[in-house]
Symmetry: C2
Subunit: 318 residues, 2 copies
Amino acid sequence: MFEFKDNIPFREKKNDILTVGELLIDMMTTEYDNNDECNTYRKLFGGSPSNIALNVKKLGVNPIIVSTVGEDGLGRFLINQLKHADIDTDHIQRADESTSMVVVTKSVSTPIPIFYRGADYQISYTPKLEDSLINSKIVHFSCWPISRVPSRYTIERVIDTARNHDVLIGFDPNYHPMIWQKGENGIEYVKSIIGKVDIVKPSEDDAERLFGKAVPERYLDNFLELGARLVILTLGKDGAIVSNGRETITFNSLATQVEDTTGAGDAFWSGFYAAIVKGYSLKHALSLGFAVSAYKLKYTGAIVNLPNLEDIKEKYGL
Amino acid sequence: MFEFKDNIPFREKKNDILTVGELLIDMMTTEYDNNDECNTYRKLFGGSPSNIALNVKKLGVNPIIVSTVGEDGLGRFLINQLKHADIDTDHIQRADESTSMVVVTKSVSTPIPIFYRGADYQISYTPKLEDSLINSKIVHFSCWPISRVPSRYTIERVIDTARNHDVLIGFDPNYHPMIWQKGENGIEYVKSIIGKVDIVKPSEDDAERLFGKAVPERYLDNFLELGARLVILTLGKDGAIVSNGRETITFNSLATQVEDTTGAGDAFWSGFYAAIVKGYSLKHALSLGFAVSAYKLKYTGAIVNLPNLEDIKEKYGL
């Protein structure tokens, strides 16, 4: 049971956070566009676990990122971006598939991404991955690597190893049918994973895709009933509600200015993970997560120039 | 037997040329780039059969294009481009896969494209396709649709129908291992197709990929031995050699200025097809094909503003 007033005790480990999953290109239109008429695009570093790794590094804790890219120019670009951010690229695997890409149109209505999946789900479970995982405090992944084989098998082994070696498991249940293999019931599989992890952070949209339309409190129960130990349900501008199964607490959004919502969820994860690693109480860490998210919202892009966690703490009076 | 001095007799048909195959996005860097550092791209209409359809329309004959795009913004863009070019989009099928894309880096060395195949190989053989095929003089396709299932099956049926209804078959043997399903011997399959078509136009690179390193004359024999009836082997700036199995003739390049080689092969096909439809002798039609190619080489991009065939004929004194 996670108690809000307590910190999360971690065994002494060499690494803080290991993220496993999608490292990919976001190919984004340079202009807002509602009629498929914008012809120019900018290639950006993308993929939620990769964003989290970059963020936590800036906040002051150590990430390891395990991903697969293609043997192509886009893969080299992503690896170079990690190197520029001073992040170790030893765990980046290369596959004989094109580097995965998402084409995104900036839009004032809801943009519909177009997915091109190649290398991202070719992640292998290697002795090197296992060794780094055992020596990490936290492991994080999203629905991307579990949506396809062989990376699904890798995540299943990651979960087993993490549970056997006191590694906290955070899972982003960002289920979306468009990333799933056609004809497979992704929802049931995602639900089966929720019971095997410690912390989930669904958005209301994620929850609706998994459980149908309901009130937020019902969603908390849905996740808890499946076995999650801590459920952080984000409600956009209405903040978040969080339950440990016994107690539910509410957080107001700390955002004062919203320039771009891209990567706000990853910013939360990053602040929250950095804070629990640094020994803040669970409740304080949640607040710090929302503060990092609020800070990110003031700027455009998934990756912004975050200060370290203590500066954010001070800035938001936490 | 094709005689160089004769025209190719066609039965009276409603349509001139039907192309079946890839309609896709070329996502091209806006700058030359040898170090994966150019981050801006422009989306362009692409796919060889689609380029040919657009070209022949400008040259003055009627195309039908049979392709599949995704139910997404990139698919809508491609369909709109066809509409702007006043080309019928009735034969464009939609699939539940992302619109195919090739990421291309402009480079002073040989650029290495990155392939993202989705909707393009989902082409179905429909009664509508069959009806239009039977009522066409020429059908054209490249290695793309035969490289994957189900479009491979569609092409196999297209070949059968074309042979049963006096439709001339042109095939671009642009074999490349990167578009082929991994683990499958694409070379043997391409060779099996060559025996079932009338006209092939390999480049020297295409021929080398299929038959290994050899002299051009040997390549002509390779294709003829497999059953092609007319082999047009292009040699870049050195022109081309063409054989009907009995006689081999040489063409010098008509290019006076080379701005960009993209789409030069498609421009040849376009001029050649337009000319044989218009009743020029085979030899004259080959010259006109090389003239259209030379005209295209003066401009950047796969699709340039071609005049009609008679203007090209006059311009090049043919």
